[in-house]
């Protein structure tokens, strides 16, 4: 049974909402991987913005202001496709995290190791210990509710994501201004056009999902002071911050570090060290590693808290057994957080200690892509359907252009995510047995998406809380 919760305190304003999205999307670890593409990273980013970032920002703003109840994607998709659709969308958003957590956890651990002594990154016990401290520590922050996690997120995202991005951009500008050698060819418009062919097509899914998380603020609707006013503004503010930081910081790295140094060898810290050595500020590498570690933790926290809150609401509505419906006095869904932490810990354990798992992790990454695509396909489809099925619901923010505008926005989003789903199923060219690959990815995706259907199959009135009119089991 839940402890008497503090009624959802309205603690989130425009800035806090925007920072939730920035925390979920802006990640320094993306920059070196994208900088490999030189000027054409601009074209890739523009492509990602057109087929995903702009559509999801507009869709999120309209849906969040039209249905400002808790649950984020669950509430939105439920309005359009019923409980089953909403539950599947939310569960896919939650379940892909559990597969993804080990990567972001190992990123924070290896970045911290770089600040201490890089050899530690090769020690699986150090890695696992740090991963667990970060994972359970972040879960503990979520335990203390929205106010605490918001403060942590606001401070963390500024220090761990925005400040390092601005520092990299500043150094890039200084590099240009001081007449140092630029390692990529001089800018021409033609060079910004990305090469899209069979070799690079799988990268399309990566580009689309580079901006995944723009809907994260929607999970916090119940704690938002003025959702109808603040959601659209927060979407716009976060999109601007994310685009500016991402594009300029990537270019700053691209102009300073030779592409030959920007491959697998360039973990973020390796790239930063090269960059800072060249700029003569090698002493700043350690502090930067600590900031980027914090950025990784905040990135993790955004994904750890948002979907878990949504799942708490699903449980509260009686769609999951009461075991999942435990909230504490801070309003945090403790049962979901605990189950999430336990499953995530086991997967992390396998990831660190079973080389076969980390060597084949790209198959699990493909499952993450497929699960996320299911979420966004349902969100964009809901956006379009709700304009027909509930045209009179007040939407303080409406996508301009009437039905044509909605079809363009929803259509672009659907195009991007459906294509990502398809290319996500493409095995690497060297993988000879594509049936095994596609079968494994689809089976794994199915296993991670199917629990809502199991819960709904066994659902009974006793799962509803007393105050909602149900019986306490």
């Amino acid at each position: 049974m839940s402890e008497a919760p503090i009624a959802n305190k309205k603690v989130l304003g425009l800035f806090a909402l925007a920072m939730i999205n920035v925390a979920a999307v802006l990640s320094i670890r993306n920059f070196p991987s994208m900088a490999v593409y030189g000027w054409s990273c601009i074209g890739w980013y523009v492509l990602g913005a057109i087929v995903f970032l702009i559509p999801i920002s507009l869709a999120g703003a309209e849906l969040a202001t039209g249905w400002p109840e808790g649950g984020g994607v669950y509430a939105w998709v439920k309005q359009a496709f019923g409980e089953k659709g909403g539950f599947v969308a939310l569960f896919c958003e939650w379940s892909n995290n559990l597969v993804w957590f080990p990567t972001v956890l190992s990123f924070t651990a290896s970045t911290l190791a770089f600040a201490l002594t890089p050899d530690l990154a090769a020690n699986p016990w150090f890695m696992f210990a740090v991963m667990m401290i970060v994972f359970w520590g972040t879960t503990a922050i979520a335990y203390f509710g929205e106010e605490t996690s918001t403060k942590f997120s606001n401070i963390g995202v500024i220090l761990g994501s925005i400040v390092p991005s601005l520092l990299i951009i500043g150094l890039g500008l200084w590099w240009l201004g001081s007449g140092q050698k630029i390692v990529i060819p001089h800018f021409t418009l033609a060079q910004t056009v990305p090469t899209i062919n069979l070799s690079t097509l799988p990268f399309f899914a990566t580009i689309v999902l580079l901006f995944a998380g723009m809907e994260m603020a929607g999970f916090h609707a119940l704690e938002t002071k003025n959702p109808q006013r603040d959601f659209p503004r927060a979407m716009a503010l976060s999109a601007v911050i994310i685009v500016i930081c991402t594009v300029l910081a990537t270019l700053a790295i691209a102009i300073v570090i030779p592409a030959s140094q920007l491959n697998l060898a360039s973990g973020v810290m390796q790239a930063i060290q090269y960059f800072f050595d060249a700029a003569g500020i090698a002493w700043l590498v350690g502090p930067m590693a600590l900031l980027i570690t914090l950025g990784g933790v905040v990135n993790l926290a955004a994904w750890l808290i948002g979907p878990a809150k949504g799942l708490g609401i699903v449980a509260e509505e009686g769609n999951m057994p009461p075991l999942f419906d435990k909230t504490n006095k801070y309003g945090a869904p403790v049962a979901v957080l605990l189950i999430q932490a336990l499953i995530g810990s086991v997967i992390s354990l396998l990831y660190v200690f079973l080389p076969s798992v980390n060597q084949a992790y790209w198959i699990l990454s493909a499952m993450t892509v497929e699960l996320l695509c299911i979420v966004y396909i349902l969100v964009f489809a809901a956006l379009i359907k709700l304009r027909y099925s509930k045209p009179d619901t007040p939407r303080p923010f409406k996508i301009p252009g009437g039905m044509i505008g909605v079809w363009i926005v929803g259509g672009l989003g659907l195009f991007g995510t459906v294509l990502s789903f398809i290319v996500g199923l493409m095995p690497p060219m060297y993988f000879t047995n594509w049936i095994v690959y596609v079968g494994s990815v689809l089976l794994g995706t199915f296993l991670l998406a199917v629990p809502p259907l199991i819960f709904l199959k066994f659902k009974h009135p006793g799962w509803l809380k007393k105050q909602n009119g149900g019986e306490q089991p």
């Binding site: 670890r29 991987s33 290896s110 530690l120 070799s199 697998l264």
Partner: protein, 150 residues
């Protein structure tokens, strides 16, 4: 404890198993590349065998714990494709696997990793672009080379 409570716990366990199952399956069915010494230059030998030209080669030492050096090859094939393939040897299975984790950890956003990577003995072999047909031609020979020295 009531029957309904037991049922709830069973459902929760089922969900947990569904999550862990894909990882366990992967751990069991995927053939781990053991750490051992592969002699010579496996990429160059594989390229020669596949009729792929080495347009350029540079020595590289990655800034990672345990990295002992490798080469970055620019390869071209008669169809006009180009691929950049980097190799790096590591002094232990732990340091090699740490590099694999680093590769996984740097997948942009929530997408797939950039480039393709395989493990060949003490080496990590990393190729871009992600779906390079040249790399596809080299992989069977690389895997063969790894097995031959096992």
């Amino acid at each position: 404890m009531t029957i309904s409570k037991n049922g709830e716990i069973c459902l929760a366990l089922l969900v947990a198993v569904l999550f862990i199952l894909p990882c366990l399956m992967l751990g069991l069915i995927y053939e781990e590349a053991p750490y051992h010494t592969v002699a010579g230059e496996p990429v160059r030998e594989a390229a020669d065998a596949a009729g792929i030209s080495v347009a350029d080669v540079e020595g590289t030492l990655w800034n990672m714990a345990g990295a002992t050096g490798g080469k970055t090859y620019t390869l071209t094939d008669p169809e006009g494709d180009t691929a950049y393939i980097a190799t790096q040897a590591f002094d232990s299975a732990e340091s090699r696997d740490a590099a694999v984790r680093l590769y996984n950890a740097h997948a942009p956003g929530k997408g797939k990793q950039v480039g393709s990577m395989i493990v060949v003995g003490q080496y990590i072999v990393y190729a871009t672009p992600v779906n390079s047909p040249i790399f596809a031609k080299l992989v069977p020979a690389l895997q063969q080379a790894a097995k031959a020295t096992t």
